[in-house]
């Protein structure tokens, strides 16, 4: 599997990841190498195998419906890059 620079750009867009144009070649070749490497998976027959998402067979534990959190906005927004009037600010979103 070999990825083109265009494909790398598309994936980077999906991941909202800025990649410098001069680095595209090296990303493309590294990613191609990794994908080639993981293609070994294709060799094994898994037609009757269920995918395994968690290593331990356990069911989801449920939490009682109770309000346990109090307002910590001031604490949490201390680490925020841009806030005003309690709101997080981002460049204008056009809908």
């Amino acid at each position: 599997m070999s990825l083109s620079n265009k494909e790398v750009e598309n994936i980077a867009h999906l991941a909202r990841l800025g990649v410098d144009a001069q680095d595209l070649d090296s990303y493309a070749s590294n990613l191609s190498r990794i994908l080639e490497f993981v293609e070994a998976l294709g060799a094994v027959d898994t037609s009757d195998v269920e995918p395994l998402a968690h290593p331990i067979d356990m069911a989801q534990r449920l939490r009682p419906d109770a309000v346990t959190e109090s307002d910590q906005r001031e604490l949490f927004q201390r680490v925020a890059p841009s806030v005003e009037g309690g709101l997080y600010l981002v460049p204008r979103v056009i809908e």
Partner: protein, 486 residues
Amino acid sequence: MSVHDKTVAELSAGLAAGEYSSEELTRAFLQRIQGPGNELNAFVTLTEERALEAARAADRRRAASQAGPLTGVPMAHKDIFCTRDVRTSCGSRMLDNFISPYDAHVVEQLNAAGMVSLGKTNMDEFAMGSSNETSYYGPVKNPWDTQAVPGGSSGGSAAAVAARLVPASTGTDTGGSIRQPAALCGITGLKPTYGRVSRYGMIAFASSLDQAGPMARTAEDCALLLEAMAGFDQRDSTCVDQPVPRYSDALNQDLAGVKIGLPKEYFGEGLDAEVARVVDAAIEEYRKLGAEFREISLQNTALAVPAYYVIAPAECSSNLSRFDGVRFGYRCENPQDLEDLYKRSRGEGFGAEVKRRILVGTYALSAGYFDAYYLKAQKVRRLIRDDFLAAFNEVDLILGPTSPTVAFNLGERADDPVSMYLSDVYTIAVNLAGLPGISHPAGFAHGRPVGVQLIGTHFDEARLLNAAHRYQQVTDWHTRAPEAFA
């Protein structure tokens, strides 16, 4: 013997006997970190004031006869664990300015036990790496040879313990990140069963693989630490609600009749011959202790690294989406619009290896590739787990090398991600299967430490610690210190 040479158990005894105070110990270790330890770059943040405060609190607690075995013993946290009011960087520019508003469960547990954290250790960025070279704060150096890498991703934690800068540290292990640096630095490190230790407040790399564990010089110390770290936490849905055994009480059980499997796939191509000789010698020691060996087969071993490099990047690509420059962390200068904010904040905040993995993971989950990559890897994951479960019907433990080679040189594998990935070939399958594994020192090859890995069945940490402890009772590899840090 100076205090920095002592193990956690020994320091615990010395504190109990009043030979020194926690404050004295804390000052002594802080001096080691700032003095001889400085060149290793093992720490990214030192919390001197907080440490001394905690030490004095521990001393008061002892004076009030309320001290536990770990009260007053210094340690360090890998910088992946959130520590309230202290920068938690995860080795990344993205979180260089992140002061955590809360403590990780592991941090809470060890604080409650009275341990004194001296600071945060360096690591591969977001725990993605096997050499500590991907850290935003620069690589950590191996105390045995500063040309060599310490392994990763918990490289700072491993180097700090090996260089006697702290008696113990915490690490996390997603594909070998506790065991491989423990092996490369000549210390003991335990990755517990998935679910044994809460992941709350531990910055996620790959959620179905990540597990926190102790790193120290001996199995006994790891037992003491795990007793304190483990425990039910309702904030982590994947954390099991099972009592934590008293691991330190079971250390001296006889190994006679314990059946240990040697997977033939772990002794084949790729294994350094000198490393193999060290492992053989360790097998001989275990045999003398009464263990019985038999060859087993884990036939899908070769697929573990490929499966891992689909699953871990897939999970990480999603886990790392929250780093978007909106609510915390790095934000680019003057974003032009929303897309620019995302792309530059993430592009500038993450390093190359993290970006590679996000891209691989995004690709593996994207329309048209999901079945061939992600789903396929999850199926292979089941095959790999089933291999282990079948093996544990026949044997009690599995033994092999922790890493195929000793520590490689800084920069040696930096250009080829895949060769770097292969350094975790013996550890990765254990994470895929959610099993516990321990690496302990077993000798040297090419003048650098070699680790042996024991793998147990789910929640059988006690047996792993027991076996490694018995081995350490009859060998002294774990007591060797790098000359420059003796």
